[in-house]
Symmetry: C2
Subunit: 497 residues, 2 copies
């Protein structure tokens, strides 16, 4: 496909001067509309070395209000980035609603440079394709406008440009080994580029190939494309009815359905205190050893606690961390999202908390809020919480692929036990703060939550990141089971490493 | 002083069991009071290797609600940290109002380990003392509670602990070269520690030396000390009248005072368009070259734009960046602070934006908002904006010490020119959005702003970070002067590097 491009496409200086000022004004207007409508815009520039990515990005930067965009040059991964799954840096860089993020190179590096230079093996770049497609689909689903450019120059043109860059002492360093290697391997690159363009050209994330021999032509085509893409999304939003967010109705009582996975939980399981104390000490010692082994092996771990109010998450987490070295773990409490978090894809705040290699992150509530409280209370649309099942599976898959041990707990108690605990808290002056009107309101929706919990467990318990239900009427039993489950999972992850 | 400590101080298990549960409860209550009062708390743990910092931090972590604290292990600086002034990482880690930050080692590393191991020269660690003292004073001034612990064990005890740690395969790696070196050089360390404790023990940031032979004793002393320090601050806040924030009154008209620095600005300076275009092109080319030299020499630059509304900041910045490579600079627009930013020391959000070595950050408005809009509108107390003069000087000094080129512009126009521009904007449909009611309101306070601007220029124009006034009635002149000033400053910074 690329060899058929007319790389001589040009535009005269007069034509540019006639139309470009108006285009810049339109982009300014467009940016204000984007801000007003709360649309996040992601613009990706890929292309041959020396194809002029920097120049066109600077033209966009000149036309945009700096309060609404950020340029992300994607250079070699930093220490912090190498210590996380490779998509981490891109999730972190996502724009808030109403903002532009401009990527100078992007997540396509893995299927281009890393592939051609054999920095990753075939399995890795093939899997990268799947992850990239999933990533872009998730962005588009959440309302992000995605515009992707491939800046194309011929081999001869690239050679001429390298020569010019090398002649200027200020820029000579920019043509290094890597750039010369690309030039030598132009043909191998071409194969990879064509495959990339074909595989990842989607209606929600289309590629625009730009004949980049002439800077003026590039400028016109890029500006036009961005304007059209954004206008289309603004148009779509104007036409579409605002999404409906409804609290979940109470499920019908009869007929008595099949017992669910929650009904089958044996809440009678318990442990005597002497037995508990013996096992707890041994498990804490084992976890301390494992924490240090994780650190030296650079294996990360993610432990998720979800459960009914008053099921004992806090106390369970404390027993888990009691014997650990605080330099190796972090408890991440998940509360109501901040304004900044609400302005991003809902997984953004969790990606930011992904532990680095060798460290443990313990989530007190998690990304499952999407399919629990947000679903039940109608804080998300049905489309949003429905696709979240796939999104969290994919998220956890990326963690596991990186070598992370993922453990997920559902702390289960029955309604009577919860009532008993609520009442006990209210009678204790030091624990009163732990119980609020919201807890009582959640309790009224026990049936709705049950439906949501069962569906969550069924749809997100995967081979690589299974749920463990903790029978938590007896806290001692739940704690010991949690610690043992974590220890076993860490050991398995270490074995895999 | 340290040799007189009774390192055998112990507490019986029964005594601990009698008092400790109550202490934990009190710390929980204290944390909720801290949150309610919006007090940030910083707890620093320094001490001998193997003195038990991890263990005591874990005890605190057990007693605190994870929603309100974060542990910061201060290990070797990361790539990102090495690319900024050394205090950057600590500013970034400061807690929001109502939160605890617990530092496992801290900013004292430079006057201890780096000093004893000769990783920094004498000038550096001596200067570090000054910066640390200024840092802690600034934190205390802004209402942060600072609690600093030195965990002390004797040389023999340290030896016994190293032996025990090495015997356990899980922890053996923790006694490495560095730890053995500390043990060998125990005496040299002791000298540095004593000096540190003496020099930096201040009423607002006191040290507590903890006899750390027995873990139980450490726990009691640390918990007690934290509780006392926080209670004292809560008490102080309850007693003190709420700070008064008053808009600045209009300054008296007569008697005609000495002409100020602003009165002396020659606004007649101008440039013809042909002359402008010639000079602009040459300057942009020169800046392009300098940007690349900065990058290879790893010299950062900070450029600050302040000025009257409609003085032409935006257009000036665009001419500055027009010829630059977008990978090397970032425009940082400073608007109304977010809730998160308001919950931190006001310099926190600017520290987060400090450019990394080799990069240029252009601030469209800046930390000077404290002594301009916040002063005039009464958004800060008088004490706050008054001490800001010293605080920003100190901030900029740290940037310059790191090798940063710091350029600061005040874009000056007169009242008539501003009126003309406001009216012109209102008459142009594409520029109307640029002018709001707030602009008109600011204009009404021209006299107040003039007083604030003059004082700002006089008090924060330093040898290392001087202000440049841009005579901006003629935009062309102001642009060319800005670009030339930046180019000259970058050259000087490169010469120094």
């Amino acid at each position: 496909m690329l060899e058929l491009l007319d790389l001589d496409r040009k535009i005269s200086k007069t034509a540019l001067e006639r139309t470009f000022p108006d285009m810049k004004t339109r982009l300014g207007d467009c940016q204000r509309a984007v801000r007003a409508a709360g649309v996040p815009v992601v613009i990706v520039f890929e292309g041959w070395d020396a194809a002029g990515k920097g120049t066109i990005i600077n033209h966009l930067a000149q036309a945009l209000d700096p309060r609404g965009f950020k340029v992300h040059p994607v250079v070699a991964a930093t220490e912090a980035e190498r210590a996380r799954p490779w998509m981490w840096r891109f999730w972190n860089a996502l724009p808030a609603a109403g903002n532009f993020a401009i990527f100078d190179r992007s997540w396509y590096g893995r299927v281009l440079r890393d592939r051609v230079e054999e920095a990753v093996h075939e399995g890795q770049w093939r899997q990268a394709y799947e992850e990239v497609e999933e990533f872009e689909r998730q962005l588009a689903d959440s309302g992000v406008v995605l515009v992707k450019f491939w800046l194309h120059v011929g081999r001869g043109e690239q050679k001429r440009r390298f020569k010019r860059i090398r002649q200027d002492p200020a820029t000579a360093w920019r043509v290094g080994k890597q750039e010369r290697r690309q030039h030598r391997k132009y043909k191998e690159w071409l194969v990879a580029v064509e495959e990339m363009l074909q595989r990842t050209d989607r209606p929600h994330a289309p590629w625009t190939v730009v004949e980049a021999t002439q800077e003026r032509f590039v400028r016109m085509k890029v500006f036009e494309t961005v304007l059209r893409a954004v206008d289309a999304e603004l148009d779509r939003r104007r036409r579409e009815p605002p999404p409906s967010r409804q609290p979940m109705p109470e499920p019908p009582a009869a007929p008595p359905a099949q017992p669910t996975i929650l009904d089958r939980v044996d809440l009678k399981q318990s442990l005597t205190r002497p037995e508990y104390e013996k096992q707890l000490g041994a498990l804490q010692e084992r976890l301390f050893q494992l924490e240090h082994r994780l650190y030296t092996a650079r294996v990360p771990a993610v432990i998720v606690y979800e459960g009914w109010d008053a099921a004992g998450k806090g106390g369970n987490i404390r027993r888990l961390t009691q014997g650990l070295d605080p330099r190796g773990y972090e408890v991440v409490p998940i509360g109501v999202p901040t304004t900044e978090e609400l302005a991003h894809h809902y997984l953004w705040r969790f990606w930011r908390q992904v532990p680095k290699a060798g460290h443990i992150a313990i989530f007190d509530r998690s990304w499952y809020g999407r399919v629990l409280v947000e679903r039940v209370e109608g804080l998300s649309t049905e489309a949003e919480w429905r696709r979240a099942f796939t999104e969290v599976n994919q998220f956890e898959h990326q963690l596991v692929e990186f070598g992370t041990a993922v453990v997920k707990f559902w702390l289960h108690i029955d309604q009577e036990e919860q009532l008993r605990r609520f009442q006990e808290r209210q009678g204790n002056s030091h624990r009163q703060w732990k119980i609020t009107g919201e807890d009582w309101r959640n309790r009224d929706k026990w049936k709705q939550y049950s439906v949501a919990v069962v569906e969550m467990l069924e749809r997100t318990s995967t081979t690589y990141a299974p749920w463990t239900i903790l029978e938590a009427d007896c806290k001692l039993h739940a704690r010991v089971k949690a610690l043992r489950t974590v220890a076993d999972a860490l050991e398995r992850a270490l074995d895999r490493a």
